[in-house]
């Protein structure tokens, strides 16, 4: 038997380990001392964090606002950002389940583990609408916790703002009062703007693409009367669209969908029902604060104004 120890065969490997160990001992500084490093999955959450946290937070948004937040890759750059995060904001209720668990696990940052103050799951603070995926026969169970697209509901976002203010205060107790006040202000502005927009809009019936605009019903005088997708995640089929047209023939309404969704189905309804069609963003720009979100609310309401 040939004696061989682990110590001497990988000599350059041992050196490698030593370098890694040394690096570990170096102190790591955050972007700016005293700032809370916040990572938000969507720009709607990012906007709230910027508004409430002000200069005391630096915010990085992971999901590009013009993309479907359901379908992202757990990118290496996400893990690098989460590795240094003090606070991770997610919508929850399954919206990010295709990628966030993998990205968070890969980040090796216990501060953002579920259950820690560094993990903020917005859906946990809300009563969600039922998801249509819960009512269909078969095996749908994506959104068993409810419809996670509450970013289109400023009233629920106001509740999230208050909860987020509290959480920021927990992480920075010396500023808790300040954050609490900012959060209440933010909530007030959201609610007030929602009331104003609702007052300007006549009752509308709408067809949406996915259940991502269902929450408009919660604060605008609108009723969702159909979905372009035959079932969530499945692109519109000719048969389904024809059925929608037959059902809605000789009624009034509009078709609304997210900018990243294909407009073929919406155009079909526009052509056969004479309903106006509009595509809208679902989230504000990545660098937005509250004003960006308020503007987005106006965009949604504006798209439903009768022409």
């Amino acid at each position: 038997m040939q004696p061989m120890s682990w110590i001497h065969f990988p000599s350059n490997f041992a050196r490698w380990l030593a370098i890694a160990a040394l690096l570990l001992l170096l102190p790591f500084s955050h972007p700016t001392a005293g700032e809370l490093n916040v990572v938000a999955t969507t720009s709607s959450l990012g906007a709230l964090a910027r508004e409430i946290g002000g200069d005391h937070v630096s915010v990085r948004v992971l999901a590009p606002p013009d993309r479907d937040a359901h379908y992202l890759d757990a990118r290496p750059s996400f893990m690098a950002a989460l590795r240094r995060a003090d606070l991770l904001l997610e919508m929850g209720a399954g919206l990010e389940e295709g990628w966030l668990p993998a990205a968070a696990r890969g980040a090796a940052n216990p501060a953002i583990n579920i259950g820690r103050p560094g993990r903020f799951i917005a859906a946990d603070f809300l009563h969600l609408r039922r998801s249509i995926t819960m009512d269909e026969p078969g095996m749908g169970h994506v959104h068993a916790e409810g419809n996670p697209h509450f970013n289109s509901d400023p009233l629920r976002m106001a509740e999230v703002a208050v909860a987020l203010g509290e959480r920021l205060g927990e992480l920075m107790p010396e500023r808790a009062e300040h954050f609490g006040a900012r959060a209440r202000q933010t909530a007030d502005r959201l609610e007030q703007h929602a009331r104003e927009l609702a007052a300007q809009l006549p009752e509308r019936r709408i067809v949406v693409y996915h259940e991502d605009l269902d929450y408009l019903e919660e604060w605008l005088p609108v009723t969702v009367v159909g979905y372009l997708e035959p079932s969530p995640g499945v692109p519109p089929t000719a048969r389904h669209l024809q059925r929608l047209v037959d059902e809605l023939q000789n009624t009034e309404g509009s078709v609304l969908h997210a900018s990243f969704q294909p407009d073929r189905g919406a155009r079909f309804l526009e052509r056969h029902l004479g309903w106006p069609r509009a595509d809208v963003p679902l989230d504000p720009p990545a660098d937005a604060a509250l004003d960006g979100y308020l503007e987005l609310m106006s965009t949604w309401a504006g798209a439903l104004q009768p022409q």
């Binding site: 570990l24 750059s77 090796a108 940052n109 079932s231």
Partner: protein, 436 residues
Amino acid sequence: MQTHRIMRHAGAGLLASAFLSPTLVASQWQIGDDHIGVDVSLILEGVYFNTLSRGNDEPAGFEGGHDHGHGHGHDHGHGHGHSHGFDEGFNLGHSELVFEARLGELLDGTLMIGFDDDHLEVEEAYLTTRTLPAGLQVKAGKFLSDIGYINSRHPHDWDFVDRPLVNEYLFGDHGLQETGVQATWLAPTETYTLLGVELLQGTNENVANFEGRQSALNGQNRILSDASGPRLVTAFAKFGPDLGPDQALQLGVSGGYARTFQKTDEHSTRFEDWDGSAWFAGLDAVYKYESGRAYGHGNWRLQSEYFYREIDVDRRDVNFAEDDNGPIGFVRNVQSFKNKQDGIYLQGVYGFAPRWEAGLRLEALGLTNELGRGDGTKEDTSYRHGAQVTFRPTEPVFLRAQLNQTDFAGDHGSDRGLEFLFQVNVALGAHGAHRF
């Protein structure tokens, strides 16, 4: 595209979803008073395989270096000499039952059971820490090594039906799958930088084969000796710069050293024994482009890996029966030699329409193909070219058709073959998020 919301029409006629759904929908439960959420998911795969024209079965220089089987251990009687271990016709492919649980604050547990129609195997069973500080993580148990890119990924996550040649022939039909411990460190840098080390038992027949001490023959000892584990150590580094919302890149470098590589072959009157060591090293790169359009339309994925493997052994044959050369215990063919082999692949997949993808894969095996046994031989390079089209009717289901043109070097020169594969894959239950 990561598609793990579970949809209603997952069955798609492949299986009796009505029968399976009641158990799968209830995939979160609590055990006793502890809140242990266990996610259960089931991956079912069916593969149709057809050899349209027969080429050389095995790439020159790699014969016997793998066990013909794509399946789970029942390989030998089943591979009729073709390269994948798929039977001609219908196959229950690589199906998996996955359990993932959070064990309190400290650990995550994962158990993956692979099965086909007559065999069951624990493919992975490991614990991962979730509370170590400073970007450290430790994983312990049986797992797929994180060397390279495709090695740690399960077949339903691949862009092609079959394993790339370089992984299949350098690491085996399951890739480098070992029992041991892995430690990783994620640097707190803007650019994703992950460093990792693995201490593994060392049982992989392609890079760390272990036979152990064999009894002496007529008082003549064999060169094979015992060596306690861990016998294989690997290290890897991965880098991922932030390229903005449309693009993502990951580059990797990895390698491993097995302090014991042993083999024994039974010839008519003698055992041929090899005892030595082996090492390997490789590079991998993955690039993804996301167009931002719905259902993966316009997305690109490019992926490439190169691995080199060197086996450095002493050979010494011992007679177990008397022959013309000598009595039992007679020793001959004493030599030391090296086998140097490598392989590479490059593949690209493009979303040419919503829910439709097409891909090409180019592979070369044995660009270096030097076998030192006996007087030494230098074999030619083998090639394989693959093309696939994939359709995802609903999120958890995909159908894939693939053509492989093989151009394997053989004793009588290269000989082209053509294979057709058709795959149906369904993910049921709370299937976890995929890594990049």
